[in-house]
């Protein structure tokens, strides 16, 4: 599951990736004609809209790609860098950049491309951007207020607008295509030419049709996550699903034995987990099962993954989800944590005649009843002293 950094690709290798990505980036920009300021500013005077075409096509392609990868569970969007929103600095900074665009004829990326093929104006622009950044750095205390005002966090546009992601993606794509058509018309007028405008050739129509079919099939079928969560709401589906069970006694035995192959996935609330957490356990919500943290834990080889919750049914739902997501060695605590509590934590030796078969069990439980709270206390101390694990977004941006 993506992103591949930092687990699959380490920080050193990431620099190599950066170099390769950069080569692709520079190549694409230069091939598109972004190494000449004439082509870049053409957008603002109506004679050449190449920038808009390349830019919008690239943005829409990448956006649809991100949505598709997330839709099929291949990319954890919670981990990728979403540029944070600071309303005023975004607007004012953007306008200043616009001023720089029409006076300098480049933006930072394209000026480097231009410089790379020998454009002296590109090199000068790079020097200028160096000075501009230096000015910002030196005068930072003056701009800090504006820089940090109206912080909205890592929000996404469809959340801000209060619409669904799919609708937003559709609207943006539609706007892009409309802009392609419209600007081609402007271009023809400004240049006084009667050349070909924006039109759909058979090849483009075919490709568009194919894309629409793929898009529709993907989005008409509910996405993996929704589909699975819906399945779990179906009680007959859950009850007919066969998941191996582990008894409270076995779980207690393995914990006391410090069986390192045991991993407990605790689906109880954070509060319950904090007050009565078991050793070797990690807390998850059902929703978290789709994320990369769950992947990291559950894809470990030769582990027994025991799902617990207060009742067995909730635990079983988590276990089913894990199985459906393709993880193996999934078990569920029989009777849930309530049973564990009754059997072990609050075990009381039954009075009266004890069945001979139960003698050993009861002896074990009496013992476990003493040991388990100690283990849980140790675990609690270990956890509260250690730092809290939190989902960390990758740091990015300019």
């Amino acid at each position: 599951m993506g992103p591949l950094v930092p687990e699959v690709i380490g920080s050193q290798l990431n620099f190599i990736v950066a170099l390769i990505v950069g080569i692709g980036f520079g190549f694409a920009l230069e091939q598109a004609g972004f190494s000449t300021s004439k082509k870049l500013v053409g957008l603002f005077y109506g004679y050449d809209f190449t920038v808009l075409r390349v830019f919008f096509t690239a943005g829409v392609t990448a956006m649809l790609g991100v949505i598709a990868l997330a839709h099929f569970g291949l990319l954890d969007v919670k981990l990728i860098y979403i540029n944070p929103t600071f309303l005023w600095s975004a607007i004012v900074g953007g306008i200043i950049m616009g001023l720089g665009f029409v006076t300098g004829g480049f933006c930072p990326g394209t000026s480097v491309c231009a410089a790379a093929i020998g454009k002296i104006d590109g090199m000068i622009f790079v020097v200028g951007s160096f000075l501009g950044i230096l000015a910002f750095a030196e005068g930072y205390p003056m701009f800090e207020g504006l820089y940090k005002a109206a912080s909205w966090g890592n929000v996404q546009m469809f959340e801000t607008l209060g619409i669904s992601q799919s609708l937003f993606a559709f609207l943006l794509t539609f706007i892009a295509v409309a802009a392609f058509w419209f600007t081609a018309a402007i271009e023809r007028r400004v240049n006084g030419k009667t050349g070909k405008g924006f039109h759909l050739s058979k090849v483009y129509l075919g490709l568009t049709g194919l894309a629409i079919i793929i898009g529709l099939t993907a989005f008409v079928l509910p996405d993996k996550r929704e589909y699975m969560l819906k399945e779990l709401a179906n009680s007959s589906f859950v009850s007919s699903f066969n998941i191996e069970e582990m008894t409270s006694d076995e779980l207690a035995f393995r914990l006391i034995d410090k069986d390192m192959n045991l991993q407990i996935i605790d689906l109880r609330s954070q509060k319950e987990f904090d007050s009565l957490g078991l050793p070797q356990s990690t807390r998850f919500d059902l929703e978290n099962m789709f994320e990369k943290d769950a992947y990291k834990l559950l894809s470990l080889k030769d582990k027994k993954n025991v799902f617990i919750a207060n009742d067995e049914l909730t635990a079983k739902k988590g276990a089913i989800l894990a199985r459906e997501l393709g993880y193996s060695n999934i078990l569920v605590l029989k009777g849930g944590f309530n049973q564990f509590r009754k059997d072990i934590l609050e075990f009381v030796m039954p009075t009266g005649k004890v069945n001979r078969n139960d003698v050993d069990t009861f002896r074990f439980r009496t013992n476990a009843n003493q040991v388990m709270p100690v283990l849980m206390k140790e675990n609690k101390l270990k956890h509260s002293s250690g730092e809290k694990q939190q989902v960390k977004r990758i740091l990015g941006g300019c």
């Binding site: 993506g2 591949l4 950066a18 990505v21 692709g24 980036f25 520079g26 190549f27 230069e30 598109a32 004609g33 957008l43 603002f44 005077y45 190449t50 830019f55 096509t57 392609t61 990448a62 991100v66 990868l69 291949l74 860098y81 540029n83 600095s89 953007g94 306008i95 616009g98 720089g100 665009f101 029409v102 006076t103 300098g104 933006c107 930072p108 990326g109 480097v112 790379a116 093929i117 020998g118 454009k119 104006d121 622009f125 790079v126 200028g128 951007s129 160096f130 000075l131 950044i133 000015a135 750095a137 930072y140 909205w152 546009m157 801000t160 992601q165 240049n191 990015g396 941006g397 300019c398």
Partner: protein, 177 residues
């Protein structure tokens, strides 16, 4: 206009979009450009006036966010790649040439001043706006970031708003090339 030597813009756009998508999938972050210049600024100031960077808030905050050598930075490597990639592209398409490009109606001097000032504005704006056309606008659009999209609208909106005042820099009297 001679467009034939450049790639079809939609094809180039798809190519660029796939590069960006691969970047997000592999590294979890988008592309960038001005950030590399920022690292270079920080590194230069550090080597010229080391005590200065320790005092000023901007450098301190930068140091907290990016521990270690400012030049050992993802964007620096990416930008080295951009130089190589653009050079290869220029080589293939026979566009390698030392030249100062300026519109027929303007002098070289005007172009130099314009490029320097434009770069300075863009660099400054990119710091304030947390990213430039690549890092904020394009990458922001790919991940549907509100801030990125607002910055994008502001960049292009701002450019259109100022375009009229600087038309003499780009358009000769006839209005086209």
């Amino acid at each position: 206009m001679n467009n034939s030597k450049y790639m079809n813009p939609y094809l180039a756009g798809v190519l660029l979009g796939l590069v960006l998508l691969a970047t997000i999938y592999i590294t979890g972050r988008g592309l960038g450009a001005s950030g590399a210049v920022k690292s270079a600024v920080v590194a230069s100031v550090e080597s010229v006036a080391p005590s200065h960077t320790g005092n000023l808030k901007f450098y301190k905050e930068y140091g907290e966010e990016h521990p270690g050598n400012p030049l050992m930075n993802w964007l620096i490597f990416e930008m080295i790649g951009v130089v190589i990639g653009a050079f290869i592209s220029g080589l293939i398409s026979n566009r390698l040439k030392f030249t100062l490009e300026h519109a027929p109606g303007t002098s070289a001097k005007v172009r130099i001043v314009g490029a320097l000032a434009g770069g300075a504005f863009f660099g400054f704006g990119a710091e304030l706006g947390r990213g430039c056309t690549s890092g904020a606008a394009l990458s922001g659009m790919a991940v549907m970031s509100t801030g990125g999209i607002i910055t994008m609208i502001a960049i292009f909106g701002g450019a259109y708003a100022f375009a009229y005042f600087f038309r003499k820099l780009w358009l000769s009297n006839k209005g086209d090339y």
